[in-house]
Symmetry: C2
Subunit: 456 residues, 2 copies
């Protein structure tokens, strides 16, 4: 069991009585019925690639690990209406491969695609780099089947575009991190396969300019804008320094960089590179873009994305950093970075903010690097709680979210409780207690307990 008792980032380690690995919905239902009868806790787990230890059992050793990986059947692909029905244990990469054989694409993708399962992606409402055009997992789920905490089966698998029969249980279960039931199967939306794409690397002067560039891209690249990511020059420098085979795409220096992907998936659309050239020429004329490169082929497109995807790894090599997955309204993110980062750096001398990611979604990975020479252990001990609380307070002041795409799990539960308005917490607790009265579904995750004394 050892590999499944530790979370993806290696920060949490738990214990379990045993690992259960059912292979059908009925087996899952039978397990949950027994669990409900005997009041034992179940910790559901897919690919164990979550970022907030939502699938790691606690240290008590009193719960069972419930692996859904054997529910791994891709049952049906419908090309006409672009839907796939599959088990919760299907690994994302395998789904990508299966649907591509039918000229289709499942557009959600992320770093852990070789491990992450469909059930886990649904239960965490996963995001990734293609959300701008296709939405998070929530918008890609057409239907789900789930085993509820009493062992009954909720059958919402049929893909209905319109269904107004009461509270939307599908949306309630998406992002619930297995605390309200176990997603066992899903019907998912697909999109046409890519015909070709252009990835642009653009030097910009500031996050504010990047935001103006985003608005222009949304206007002028109608329907073909697939990704819009931002990174500071320091992030690029770390990648070039630590990741073999990477180099800066442009010769000129710039304080910020933007990666834009334009995708063509319909024969009547313009060639992405041609559209990119026209769009960027206009942007440079307006001074929004300082310099730009357009991928000449797939290898170059991959090379640009590799820089973006290597930022976290390069940063780890560079030294300790605190990571925050935050969102504010898209129109406020540039102001957030420009206004709050200098304040953070001034309050904690020697720190450096590296804010990068999904500007088009108002979602930034807001990392605070330790001062040069700081020892990881000491610095985390002395500063982690204070700095993270400071970052989150600033996010809340913008009406933002302290967890844009990673979820709450165990890792963020205390800060979630601290920063949330009582009405939201009370509603979450009421729902949790109503649907899982014995508290057997992934206890200690997502929903801060009132008894923790956090909402006096």
């Amino acid at each position: 069991m050892a590999p499944w008792l530790t979370d993806w980032r290696g920060r949490y380690r738990g214990q379990a009585l045993a690992i259960l690995s059912p292979s059908t919905t009925d087996e899952v239902a039978a397990v949950i019925k027994l669990a409900a009868k005997h009041r034992v806790a179940m910790v559901p787990q897919g690919g164990n690639s979550g970022m907030v230890a939502g699938a790691t059992p606690d240290a008590s050793g009193q719960s069972y690990l419930l692996s859904l990986r054997r529910l791994n059947s891709i049952e049906a692909i419908d090309q006409d209406v672009r839907l796939v029905r599959c088990g919760a244990g299907v690994i994302l990469q395998n789904l990508h491969d299966a649907v591509s054989k039918h000229g289709l694409r499942f557009p959600l993708t992320l770093g852990g695609k070789g491990s992450a399962t469909i059930g886990g992606l649904i239960s965490t409402n996963a995001g990734g780099t293609q959300v701008l055009r296709h939405g998070t997992m929530r918008s890609l789920v057409a239907g789900i089947e789930a085993v509820l905490p009493d062992g009954s089966i909720y059958d919402g698998l049929t893909p209905l575009k319109k269904d107004n029969r009461g509270y939307d249980l599908k949306h309630l279960l998406i992002g619930a991190e297995g605390t309200l039931g176990i997603v066992t199967r899903a019907t998912l939306h697909l999109v046409p396969a890519l015909i070709e794409r252009a990835v642009c690397w653009v030097a910009v002067g500031s996050p504010a300019d990047a935001y103006q560039l985003l608005l222009a891209a949304q206007d002028e690249c109608h329907g073909m804008l697939e990704g819009f990511e931002i990174l500071p020059d320091a992030a690029l420098a770390h990648v070039v320094k630590h990741i073999p085979g990477t180099r800066a795409p442009l010769e000129s220096a710039a304080p910020w960089h933007v990666l834009i992907e334009l995708a063509k998936d319909s024969a009547d659309q313009e060639a992405p590179a041609q559209l990119a050239e026209r769009f960027l020429a206009t942007a440079m004329g307006k001074g929004l873009a300082l310099d730009a490169a357009i991928s000449a082929n797939e290898a170059q497109a991959e090379a640009f994305w590799k820089i973006r995807d290597s930022i976290a790894e390069a940063e780890r090599a560079e030294g300790p950093a605190l990571q925050h997955d935050i969102s504010v309204p898209v129109s406020d993110m540039a102001r957030f970075i420009d206004t709050e980062s200098p304040k953070i750096e001034a309050t904690y001398p020697g720190t450096q903010v590296i804010a990068f990611g999904h500007l088009g979604d108002g979602n930034i990975h807001y990392h605070v690097k330790a001062p040069h020479g700081a020892t990881a252990e000491n610095w985390y001990r002395d500063f982690a709680t204070r700095i993270s609380a400071d970052v989150y307070d600033r996010v809340v002041a913008y009406g933002g979210s302290i967890s844009a795409e990673h979820g709450i799990g165990q890792a963020k539960i205390a800060e979630f409780a601290r920063t949330s308005e009582p009405a939201r917490l009370a509603a979450l607790r009421a729902i949790k207690n109503a649907l899982d009265p014995h508290g057997i579904m992934n206890p200690g995750k997502l929903v801060p307990l009132a008894s923790a004394g956090l909402d006096a």
Copy 2:
């Protein structure tokens, strides 16, 4: 109070102690706090234009009518990110007018737009004729504020594209028909204003051909397909007979007709009429379309839509009919109509099925007309329950929904209870009881009570 005590269709009449009409969120919260303290029931109401009597109080006269119409401020329109923030009492038509002055469009529209309010549209997850491209109300809501049943305020108004902080209360409140709280304000997505549109009237041989035409339109009119409606020839005949100023768009006869709207809202898109001409020529070549007319101007476009929008009125003039707002998977609707309608007509001799509406959403208004000469009162008394139950049983056998867009309210609550699996009903009741333990929020609507003895 009289006009507000009867539902839109005039089928339900209730009583109330008084009508309350707060004008701010704080006033709503104060009212609900008092209601919670004294355990009195509140029946929220917007434009009172719902189809299932969800805003009509019961006959006991022990509840208050809570009108949200005075929350009618359009607070802010952001052209950059295409968002509007407004009160729940804003009337849909007024919202259309306000945003059109900024070159924007709120794409949801329906017959009751002169009365329906934003709060009511959210609480019923309204649909309409533009859902195919823009989704139901659910997909147009970026954020909401609501007063919960204890009088606390849930502030989810800030439009965050990504937010994974626990169960999605926004999605839970959308479509909850005021049974879990009162929506007071909302942030809504807008789309660019229309530049021009083409409305096509197409004669087809069968629902199956119409479905193939839909698939072709989705492939070939990439991004510009705004509506796809179907109607049988009998519906057209009723309209031409009863609605002054209407006439059949085509000279040739055909068993079925399809209305297709192609919309251009970006300068770089093709002229819709030109695209329509090419698309329809191909479809006629394949035999999918028998004949077709493309609107030459806005007046003609309106004339085509007027036929579609007058079907219900013409039918009332023609005689008594039972109306069912149903959905099945888009790919199954043609088969449902072709297979089930002859069986219904054979089982109840003299009846005629008129199935029309949103084929592109898998949502049909499935009306069963009484035999010629039947007296409305007698026929409804003898057949309404049996025929509706029969229709709904067939829908359920296809995995469909007995309420695609109108909701449950009072009118469908018994059939909802009868046709739903116990797991779904139990979950709905648990959520309702958890968030509204005193049962003061719109009692008797949407959630069938266990005490009705329906889930023995």
